[in-house]
């Protein structure tokens, strides 16, 4: 509720500022600004009786749960996979956005991810996420030093191409989006020493999603062109190969208005010679007490990582937004 109030104020200030963009002299601007502020002080009097109220740019006009959540790399989706929906609760005339923190702990490693994702007019999604991968005591066993961290920054963009996941319930045509994630691993020398060809690269993905409302189901699948080792944390490419087409998919069941159950499956390249890399999966429950708070809890199996055996554990993600 408090967040709603804040975004409403932003919107009104934004509208007020719109009135002064034609002026460029300092004093004129100041005078115009005070006029605009005077309007803001009595926001309802300005409207003619019949004209519709201006739509709130940050009005969270989408229906609860329909945009999905922020996935581990910062894109709109579910736990491990990207969806075609544009993240955030903004409609085609609104802007939405959220911040997330995601925490994954497995047998030997912990991963933290923090980022911001915004959706513009239900067409374009932009995201930034930083991941910290802590090797804990395995770092010592691998000769990297205990608690050695592989980190990466991920800048993402996704554009909605065609189709409608939510409203076109009378057709099978899914919503389809094209996305890119630029990833930059921070320990360039180390990832090259373990065999990676590069410490940065771009993943490209094409994702198709559909809500089957009469079945209370969400189905999504994506093809990803990538050479990221362990999502990019261990660099890109290696002695066993370069770019390849990988798959990520998910199925989610709308249990009730505020709870969603689901599972993700994601294939990964296996480019490094020193250690085998497996597919990853997650089974999750999402709790959406409102459009502003989303909590994802999951059991995840990330497969073998860096010679430490199969990594199974717990995934928790908190998302705040509008």
């Amino acid at each position: 509720m408090r967040m709603m109030a804040i975004s409403l104020t932003h919107d009104q200030v934004g509208l007020g500022m719109g009135n002064i963009t034609n002026f460029n002299m300092g004093r004129t601007v100041r005078r115009a600004l005070s006029v605009a502020l005077a309007f803001l002080a009595v926001p309802t009097i300005g409207h003619a009786d019949d004209s519709p109220p201006p739509e709130n740019l940050f009005g969270s006009g989408k229906i609860l749960a329909t945009p999905g959540v922020i996935q581990v790399e910062g894109a709109g989706g579910s736990g491990l996979s990207t969806w075609a929906m544009i993240s955030g609760y903004g409609t085609n005339r609104q802007v939405g956005g959220s911040a997330h923190h995601t925490f994954v702990t497995t047998n030997d490693f912990t991963l933290n991810a923090t980022g911001v994702t915004i959706g513009l007019f239900d067409r374009l999604e932009l995201s930034f996420t930083r991941q910290w991968f802590d090797t804990g005591s395995a770092g010592g066993r691998l000769g990297l030093g205990e608690g050695f961290k592989f980190n990466q920054d991920i800048v993402g963009a996704k554009v909605r191409l065609f189709g409608d996941a939510v409203y076109a319930q009378d057709t099978w045509l899914p919503q389809v989006s094209l996305g890119a994630q630029y990833k930059k691993a921070d320990k360039g020398a180390t990832v090259r020493a373990v065999g990676a060809a590069d410490d940065d690269d771009i993943d490209l993905y094409l994702t198709a999603s559909k809500i089957l409302l009469d079945k209370s189901l969400v189905l999504s699948g994506a093809a990803r062109l990538t050479r990221a080792n362990q999502f990019g944390l261990l660099g890109f490419g290696g002695p066993n190969g370069g770019r390849s087409l990988q798959f990520e998919g998910s199925a989610a069941y709308l249990l009730s208005r505020h709870f969603v159950l689901g599972a993700d499956y994601r294939t990964k390249p296996d480019n490094l010679a020193f250690a085998e890399e497996d597919d990853a999966m997650a089974a999750y429950v999402v709790w959406l007490p409102s459009k502003h708070i989303t909590v994802t809890a999951a059991y995840t199996d990330l497969g073998k990582i860096a010679l430490q055996g199969r990594q199974r554990g717990f995934y928790l993600s908190l998302q705040l937004g509008f």
Partner: protein, 138 residues
């Protein structure tokens, strides 16, 4: 990977049988329940600031009656909608997606209050959702 995609495909095909419309009418609680949650919906629509401005010149009772017929018929019940089609009745209103969704949320609230099960609600919404093409104009 292979067994997974086969499973997903099987799921897709298995679930693609159309919902039985006749049983949806029953699952919504029949005509009495539909009438109650529709009246409640119209009350909410006429008072919620997100939608109220659209209904300043609309006769509430007539709209409620038409909506009951429409929802009853759409869910497979023994009614016949005799109003204007969705395109004609909404074309001049400049309805936004946010307004459409606000009405969906009001309907969800009204059905919750009536005790309509969540999955039956979604089956009704699945029938109404494609109407957005005719109703939302901007």
């Amino acid at each position: 990977m292979k067994p997974i995609s086969t499973l997903a495909l099987a799921l897709f095909i298995g679930l693609s049988t159309p919902a039985q419309a006749a049983s949806l009418f029953d699952d919504l609680g029949g005509l009495e329940s539909i009438t109650r949650f529709t009246n409640r919906l119209v009350d909410l629509t006429f008072t919620d600031p997100r939608t109220a401005h659209q209904f300043k010149h609309t006769k509430k009772e007539r709209l409620a009656r038409l909506l009951v017929d429409q929802l009853c018929e759409a869910s497979g019940g023994p009614c016949r909608y005799k109003g204007v089609n969705m395109k004609k009745s909404h074309i001049k209103l400049g309805i936004t997606e946010a307004e459409f969704n606000a009405l969906v949320e009001q309907l969800q609230q009204a059905m919750d209050e009536e005790g309509v099960p969540f999955h039956a609600q979604n089956r009704l919404l699945a029938i109404l959702a494609p109407m957005k093409r005719d109703i939302v104009e901007r």
